[in-house]
Symmetry: C2
Subunit: 104 residues, 2 copies
């Protein structure tokens, strides 16, 4: 019989497990919108063109502490990405909020 | 020398790997806000009290196709959760948008 993943995991040294977890966590970076845009190699002027809005509006979106989900969605989609909104609970439940998924 | 995670993974049968992946994916459910609220066992009246707003406002938030991130954050926090906003890109990059993390 094939070994279960848990059986295999028990045989992996704790330090190897820890290194793998650290690597997995590192894939998710935390950034502001402007940092995401720069990471994707797009400047404000180009993004303004992609979103069909004026460049000062990009600056506003990036500097305001709040935004409409639809605005955020348009911003991320213009960068070629997909917006995902999650609610995470202390009991480990991770729910993706799908209500806003289709806003354009 | 300890085996790497990749070496161990290669020894796991594809069907076992697929089952583990399916299980991991199932942890993340997709729901509307009202569904999240019901899942957490809280009714509109109680949530209105927790958010210090009128019950019809809860209904509005749950039925509108758009919302301010601050409103969404207050809603999820009142349910005892934490809001996370991610931008996911086709190259696998997963970035958490931290700009709005502290809105109250």
């Amino acid at each position: 019989m094939a070994k279960s993943l848990n059986e295999l995991r028990e045989k992996i040294k704790p330090e190897v497990q820890a290194a793998a977890r650290a690597k997995a966590v590192a894939i998710i970076a935390e950034m502001s919108l402007a940092e995401v845009r720069k990471k994707r190699g797009i400047n404000q002027a180009d993004l303004a063109g992609l979103m069909n809005i004026a460049q000062p509006n990009i600056s506003q979106i990036e500097n305001r502490p709040d935004a409409l989900i639809s605005t955020l969605n348009q911003y991320i989609e213009a960068l070629g990405g997909k917006l995902e909104i999650h609610a995470k609970f202390p009991d480990g439940q991770d729910i993706e909020i799908s209500q806003f998924a289709m806003i354009k």
